[in-house]
Symmetry: C2
Subunit: 332 residues, 2 copies
Amino acid sequence: MARSDPGMILVAGGAGFIGSHLVARLLDEGNEVICLDNLQTARPSNLKLLEGRPGFTFVEGDITLPLPDAVTRHADRITRIYNLACAASPPQYQVDPEHTMLTNVVGTHHLLRLAERAGARFLLTSTSEVYGDPEVHPQVEGYRGWVSCTGPRACYDEGKRAAEALTFDYARAGRAQVRVARIFNTYGPHMHPDDGRVVSNLICQALSGRDITIYGDGSQTRSFCYVSDMVDALIRLMEWRSDALEPVNLGNPNELTVGELAEQVVALSGARTPLVHRPLPQDDPRRRRPDISRAQAELGWRPTVDLAEGLATTYAWFAQELAEERVPAEAA
Amino acid sequence: MARSDPGMILVAGGAGFIGSHLVARLLDEGNEVICLDNLQTARPSNLKLLEGRPGFTFVEGDITLPLPDAVTRHADRITRIYNLACAASPPQYQVDPEHTMLTNVVGTHHLLRLAERAGARFLLTSTSEVYGDPEVHPQVEGYRGWVSCTGPRACYDEGKRAAEALTFDYARAGRAQVRVARIFNTYGPHMHPDDGRVVSNLICQALSGRDITIYGDGSQTRSFCYVSDMVDALIRLMEWRSDALEPVNLGNPNELTVGELAEQVVALSGARTPLVHRPLPQDDPRRRRPDISRAQAELGWRPTVDLAEGLATTYAWFAQELAEERVPAEAA
């Protein structure tokens, strides 16, 4: 790569929820971006917003397989590799647990090999799920987690833990510069209506006038980060000057119960939708809140979008999406 | 496979320490056995004891790669697959952490696919390392462990946890019958003199008159199971009638400190070898003792060889091995 060439950025999973926002932001900043995605969980509309933008290239491919030539032929120009490729909600990643595990381990391996060959920096999006159902609250990066490696969530949780191990081994051996983000619950436009995550579930139920379902008694807590804050954090982490062999929690420490979240969504909808309780899934975490001291100190980052603002934007986006989906269906 | 055909047993890692004893025992019982091994940590003499025995076939191959045709062409006759393929001592598995991770995840995946295709039952040898540096003592199977997924042991510990996850996902989906053994420290003849494990280290140091090294102050504990007991347990577990989605601890609950073990070895040697202390490696577990209630209740198994007897046999075996190695070296 010539010194004057700013290079290219590869985003695996770039058509997904967070990935599509990240790609848009990188394009906004004038980067050339290759989006590699198998379209397993991506919404076609996410891609439509990106296609045709200057500097954007889409390559369809599955990172569990050898990387497509359309990606590897740019190895000498790729300077940054973001790995966001994996279904992230339990109903989605449990459809094919074998593929989930291989996406995390074999897929990360393929991308690390490319990072080594390209001399590119590699960022893994890991997850708060590496903490499992945590006994330590809030979760700090040094906490080793309380994860079942035999249960139905293990394909994702253990897959991400294994991906972290592999990533740090590349760094320890001097084979690649790496960054590891542990992403906590994130929400915003571009979520899939059917992905089974709590924010999209609640909003779509409210919008369609269905019962609002709450798993368990609703006392389990989550901390929700708006997607623009998350994208900001990921870019800061990628450009972090430290090669410390440490993951960094990214998320919003504003913790609330799932019951409280449901009330806020119901209030946004203005409807009097009944709340229905369903059994809590196996190994569902009871509490989840990131300690983001490291991100604050090292990246100078903190979330800026509060929940009321973020929820309203997300609600409005879903309202428009569902209305647009309804039109062709009704016209048919 | 005709009903009268007893079928074949595949042992991946069958040239290694425990694997070679398992293969010998399966041959003793009249089975046809394919030993698949990449010879990464196997001692050539282990194989020499097996070669030429009726029913024995050796195939050299690495399970991270597609399985050799010499194995897969027997798919319709294979009824049992034991996976013992992975370097198991920290100095060995840390030489190439990427390969260690892939052996556990990709290798296990290849063998599970073969099990599905063959309709064979699959046994994974997992490890007490899935408990990490345990906070619960003794370790029960339900304990989720205290494992660093970012440190230098993670390639093995997290690789085995991921392999367990993948294995149980095959069972949950009805794709294969599976058994998962969590093996605690095991010792006996056929260990590699240079594998860096504490029993072989101490015995080889005593036999060669070198200083006896103890890592840390020697107060860390281990529980050592003699290899014939372990082989007995593995076969019982494979033939266990239950398809419970549960791992089973296998090991000897007779716990002692590494310092006490060193004293027993010194006593066997009759020498007055000095003890030298070295720094404890990162993430070295402080205590390790299996709770084997499940194995006792479900498999009717308990270890029968006591430490004094097992150590004496092992010591005598190493004495002969090292003497035989010395002869050609001195003759050269």
